[in-house]
C-alpha cells in the first residue's frame, strides 16, 4: 500500500499513514505534467500547480459543454454535432484568453 502523507488531526508532527484511497475522478497529473514539459521545457511546475491546472481544465470543459448544449438546443437538435462544438469553442476560447 502506498504511504501517503496525511495530516492526522491528533498529531502536530507529520506522520505517514498507510492509506490506499481510491480517488474517484482522479486528476491525470502525469499527463498534465507531461504536456506542460513538452510545451515549456524550460519551465518548472510546482506540486500543487498541476492540480490547479486540472481544475482549470475541468472548468473549461464545463463551460464548453454548457455552451455546446445551448448551441444544440438552439438548433433544435437532439445530438451535439461537430459544428455546435466548434462554435462553442470559439466563444469559450475567446472568453478564457487570460
Amino acid at each position: 500500500m502506498p504511504r501517503r502523507w496525511v495530516p492526522e488531526r491528533g498529531m502536530a508532527v507529520s506522520a505517514t499513514v498507510f492509506q490506499r484511497k481510491q480517488i474517484k475522478r482522479k486528476a491525470p497529473r502525469g499527463f498534465l505534467r507531461r504536456v506542460f514539459k513538452r510545451q515549456k521545457p524550460h519551465l518548472r511546475l510546482e506540486t500543487r500547480g498541476d492540480v490547479l491546472i486540472h481544475l482549470n481544465c475541468l472548468l473549461f470543459i464545463h463551460r464548453l459543454a454548457e455552451e455546446a448544449r445551448i448551441n444544440t438546443c438552439e438548433n433544435k437538435c437532439g445530438i451535439i454535432k461537430k459544428d455546435h462544438v466548434l462554435a462553442a469553442a470559439k466563444v469559450i476560447l475567446k472568453k478564457s484568453r487570460g
Binding site: F36, K40, G49, L52, N56, L58, V85
Partner: protein, 422 residues
C-alpha cells in the same frame, strides 16, 4: 481504512472454496465409477486452469483432481450440496469457474467465458469416447499412442490449431446430433492435412502440457470427427492467421452453429475443444488434438504482441485527453457524435497551449522560472472564473475530490500546525 477493507475480501473467498470443496468431495466419490455426468461436474469444479482440460477425458479429469483434492480436503466442508448434486452439476458447469477463480489468483481469475455448458453434450462425448475406444484399437495409429505419441503430436500439431477453435463449437453444438460421421471424418482428415502447414508455426510454440493426454485421448470416436470439423471451423475463425480454415467450412455445412460459436468461443475454452478433438477417430487427428491443450494457451501469446505492437506517441496523449472528453459528454448530458468528441480534444489541446503560454508570461512577470499556484490563481481571475464573490477555495471545494481539497486549501490542525504550509 484500507486494512479493514481488505479483510472482508478474503473471508467470502474462503467460504466459497470450502463450498466447492464439499461439493467436489461428494462428487469425487462417483469418479471411480467413471460416470460421465457426475465425474464431469467435479472436474468442472476443478481449478480454472484445469477447466480447460475438463473435457479432455474422464481420466484426465481424475488425474487433475487427484492432487488438488488433498489440499482442498482440509477446508471445512462448507455446505452439503450433495443432495442437490444433480442440480448442482448443471450449476457447476455454469459457475465452477467463478468459485475456482476466486480461490486461485492470477490466470485462474479470468472472467468465465459464457459457457453454455452442455451436460448432455459432455455425456454424449463421454459415451462417444467409450464407443470410440473400441474402433480405435483397430486403427494402426493406436500403437503410436504410447511413447511416440508426443512425436505423433508434434507432427499433427499444426492441425491442432484449427481444431482448438472448433472444439468449443463442437461442445456447444453437441446437443445437435452430428450427421454422417464417416463423411465428416474424412473431411476432418483432409482438413487436418491441409491445415498442417498453417498450424506448424503455432505448434512449435506450444509445448506438451499434458503428456498423458495423448494416449488418453487416443479414443477417437466416429462421431467425433464431426465435432472436430466444427471445432476446426471455430478454430479457424479464432485464429485468423490460419489459412486452412476455409477448406473445412465447406465440408461441414450441417453445423450452422460454428460461426457464431467461433466468435464466442474464448481461447481458454480451447482446451476443452482439445478433448473433442481427441475423440475423433483418426490418430493424426487425435495426435493433433492431444497437442491442442497447450496450443490454445500458447497460440494466444503470439496474438498478444501483435495487438500491442504499435505505440504511437499520440496514444498516451489521447488517453489523457479522453478523460476530459468523457467529462465533456457527461456534463453535456446529451448524446454526442464521435466527430464532436474529436473536436473537443482539439479544443482542449489548443486551450492547454494557451494555458502554458499564459503561465509562462505570469511566471516571467514575477521573475520566476517556476510556475506557482499564485500564477494559476491569477490566470483564473483573468479568465473570470474567480471573482470577488467566488474565490478559489470555493471552486476547489466544488469541483475537486477531498484529497485534492486537502492539498490545496490550507487547514489548521492541532498543535499550531497548518497544512499545507503557507
Amino acid at each position: 481504512m484500507p486494512e479493514r477493507v481488505v479483510k472482508p475480501a478474503p473471508a467470502p473467498q474462503v467460504a466459497q472454496p470450502s463450498r466447492q470443496e464439499s461439493s467436489r468431495g461428494s462428487l469425487e466419490l462417483q469418479l471411480p465409477e467413471l460416470e460421465p455426468p457426475p465425474a464431469l461436474a467435479p472436474v468442472l469444479l476443478a481449478s480454472g486452469r484445469r477447466k480447460q482440460r475438463l473435457r479432455l477425458s474422464v481420466f484426465q479429469q481424475q488425474v487433475d483432481r487427484g492432487p488438488q483434492r488433498l489440499p482442498l480436503s482440509q477446508e471445512p466442508p462448507g455446505n452439503p450440496d450433495a443432495s442437490s448434486l444433480t442440480s448442482s452439476l448443471s450449476l457447476t458447469f455454469a459457475t465452477p469457474l467463478q468459485p475456482e477463480s476466486v480461490r486461485r489468483p492470477g490466470l485462474a481469475r479470468r472472467p468465465p467465458t459464457r459457457r453454455a455448458v452442455d451436460m448432455g453434450a459432455l455425456l454424449q462425448d463421454l459415451q462417444d469416447n467409450s464407443l470410440a475406444s473400441v474402433p480405435l484399437g483397430d486403427s494402426l495409429r493406436t500403437p503410436v499412442a504410447t511413447q511416440p505419441t508426443d512425436t505423433v503430436l508434434e507432427d499433427t500439431q499444426p492441425f491442432s490449431q484449427p481444431l482448438v477453435g472448433h472444439s468449443l463449437n463442437v461442445h456447444h453444438s453437441l446437443p445437435c446430433p452430428y450427421p454422417g460421421p464417416e463423411g465428416t471424418e474424412k473431411a476432418v482428415r483432409h482438413r487436418t492435412q491441409s491445415s498442417m502447414p498453417g498450424l506448424q508455426n503455432h505448434m512449435s510454440e506450444a509445448g506438451f502440457a499434458t503428456p498423458s493426454l495423448p494416449f488418453l485421448e487416443l479414443q477417437p470416436g466416429p462421431p467425433a470427427p464431426s465435432e472436430v470439423t466444427k471445432a476446426k471451423r471455430s478454430q479457424r475463425a479464432l485464429e485468423p492467421e490460419d489459412p486452412e480454415g476455409s477448406s473445412g467450412d465447406e465440408d461441414i455445412s450441417d453445423r450452422p452453429a460454428s460461426p457464431e460459436s467461433v466468435s464466442n468461443v474464448p481461447e481458454f475454452l480451447q482446451a476443452k475443444q482439445l478433448d473433442q478433438f481427441l475423440e475423433p477417430a483418426p490418430s493424426p487427428d487425435v495426435a493433433v488434438l492431444s497437442s491442442e491443450p497447450p496450443e490454445p494457451v500458447l497460440a494466444r501469446l503470439p496474438s498478444r504482441p501483435r495487438t500491442g505492437g504499435p505505440r504511437p506517441r499520440q496514444d498516451p496523449h489521447k488517453a489523457g485527453l479522453s478523460y476530459y472528453t468523457k467529462l465533456f459528454s457527461f456534463y453535456a448530458k446529451m448524446p454526442m457524435e464521435r466527430k464532436a468528441l474529436e473536436m473537443v480534444e482539439k479544443c482542449l489541446d489548443k486551450y492547454l497551449e494557451h494555458l502554458c503560454n499564459d503561465l509562462e508570461v505570469f511566471a516571467a512577470h514575477a521573475g520566476r522560472k517556476t510556475v506557482k499556484p499564485e500564477d494559476l490563481e491569477l490566470l483564473m481571475r483573468r479568465q473570470g472564473l474567480i471573482t470577488d464573490q467566488v474565490s478559489l477555495h470555493v471552486l476547489v471545494e466544488r469541483h475537486l475530490p477531498l484529497e485534492y481539497r486537502q492539498l490545496l486549501i490550507p487547514c489548521a490542525f492541532s498543535g499550531n500546525s497548518v497544512f499545507p504550509a503557507q
